[in-house]
Amino acid sequence: MVKIIACIKQALDVTELKVDSATRQVITVNAPRKISDFDKNALEEAVRLKEKLGGEVIVVTVSPEDATMTLREALAMGADKAYMVSDPSFEKSDTLVTSHILSEAIKKLGEIDLILCGEASVDSYSAQVGPRLAERLGVPQITYVRKLNLEGNIVTAERSLEDCYETVRAKTPALVTVTAEINEPRIPSLMAIMKATKKEIVAWKAGDLGILQEKVGEKGSAIQVTEVLAPKVERRKIVIKGETVEEIAEELAKALIKEGVVGR
């Protein structure tokens, strides 16, 4: 019987973000939220391990906003129970703070075998919270994992690094971050979605974890943001036209030679 925690982030769906071209501001207010892609892989892997070994999968999220719908989806994917650590005071927390809140929540959940996270979140892509959580919990970390195996108290994982695939072993409890390669997250069946409505979502606020208000949000964070601006797009969008493929190819070839970007 294993007890696995999958950490998930309710992230912005970055493919749906709009940019105000006059001010170069990114409009996030009404952008749809979703389970961050790689966190879905983490959850899927947790559920597969549970299906193989028996046990329990718990999802935990930390969010300034309500995340009930996101957690329902996680429960439909096969998690048994969810903890929503949500408090408006978490707004503008950096990874130092987020990892602190998450670690305090996990410490309350008793003995565990594995903690799974995505390699990074889709919206900020910092890849910080996983390793920071391992540091705070004092457990071994194995990042960028594409294959995972758990046997007794030994976790074996293949990491996808820049220059090699590295298989490593560690004793549980351990923290593993996974890449998209590791699995194809399931799409929950209608039955699973129905069942998920009966599963429990426990809501905690900062106070429930004994975390002081000045330790979270902007006040508690080391990193402050001064500005967020969309990059300038200054591309010419010249449409290459022609009667035939050969004409198009020739016109493009001439343009590229004129640019000085091909040839010697």
Partner: protein, 324 residues
């Protein structure tokens, strides 16, 4: 938590030597601005002889920790060495190379020092208050966010080729050997499979011909390879070809290689924002796609609406003829 105060040096560290030299290049500009020293941290076994080179590339000081524990690049000895040195000497800023290993080490050091860390910075400068401004892409490449840290050390990780190394000069510098208390690794390596390195690093290619989902079969990449060969370029891939179709191992995009070639040609690539984030700084962008509504056309200099299977070979032929 210590507040930002008197500067006591800008530090750089990477286990990747090229990246370490690039960090020294940027670090020396930042240290000059802060009127403080630039130090490199050198961790390894029998590595003291490399300190001179780091000085030649701009380090005023090199802290050397020598131990067999650094051999396999496990996080724990690296984290403990860097964190204990930083506690002892209190640097103003710490720049760490954004390799996958570097990023996890940076995150843990920052946690141990109770400070922030801004990963993958492509913009670094000092503001009028002497703070390090750290810029990076966020929201899947939709925006660049600028940050600063209220806490010292100000930690940033820096990807390869974001900044240039300086020329090597004969300089004098100080080598400081330190005995740091090191933690033992808590993971054990079972097996390492090398990934075959490309002939030229994709970041160094002057021309990149990239293929996406529009390329139907792996074998069809021969037509992209022919074009690449014609112009002395390299072929690159999108993430779905690597992770969904498992044809290749590494891709161009926000989570992979970020490139800035003179010419980028996207073939059958729709142009999701994460891919665009990896090519945005190319000098000239060409896109070939059947779908006139493909988002990649919004960030393109030369728009070709058409079938890559016909256009790409014709382009190779036209270039061969014209470049003869």
């Amino acid at each position: 938590m210590k507040k930002v105060g008197e500067p006591k040096g800008v530090w750089v560290f990477s286990e990747n030597k090229d990246l370490m030299l690039e960090l020294l290049g940027k670090g020396s500009e930042l240290a000059n601005k802060l009127q403080t020293e630039l130090a490199a941290v050198l961790l390894g076994q029998n590595v003291e002889n490399q300190a001179g080179e780091l000085i030649g590339y701009g380090a005023d000081k090199v802290y050397v920790v020598d131990s067999h524990l650094f051999k396999d690049l496990r996080a724990e000895p690296y984290v403990s060495a860097l964190a204990s040195l930083a506690k002892q000497y209190e640097p103003e800023a710490l720049l760490i190379g954004s390799t996958k290993r570097g990023k996890e080490v940076a995150a843990r050091i920052a946690t141990r020092l109770e400070t922030g860390c801004v990963p993958d910075c492509t913009h670094l400068s000092i503001d009028e208050n002497g703070r390090l401004l750290m810029g990076r892409m966020v929201y899947g490449g939709n925006a660049v966010a600028t940050h600063f840290s209220r806490v010292k050390p100000q930690v940033a990780t820096v990807p390869q080729r974001a900044f240039e190394k300086l020329g090597h000069r004969e300089r004098k510098g100080e080598i400081v050997k330190v005995d740091a208390e090191l933690e033992n690794p808590r993971t054990e390596i079972v097996e390492v499979k090398e990934i075959e390195a490309a002939k030229v690093k994709i970041e160094e290619a002057k021309v990149v011909i990239a293929g996406g989902r529009g390329v139907e079969k792996k074998e069809d990449f021969t037509i992209l390879e022919e074009l690449a060969e014609t112009v002395g370029g390299q072929v690159a891939y999108t993430r779905p070809l690597c992770e969904d179709r498992k044809w290749f191992t590494d891709w161009v995009g926000l989570s992979g290689h970020k490139i800035k070639p003179a010419l980028y040609v996207g073939c059958g690539i729709s142009g999701v924002i994460q891919h665009v984030a990896g090519i945005r700084e190319s000098k000239v962008i060409v896109a070939i796609n059947k779908d006139p509504e493909a988002p990649i056309f919004d960030v393109t200099d030369y728009v070709v609406v058409g079938d890559l299977y016909r256009i790409v070979p014709a382009l190779s032929a036209a270039l061969k003829k014209l470049l003869k």
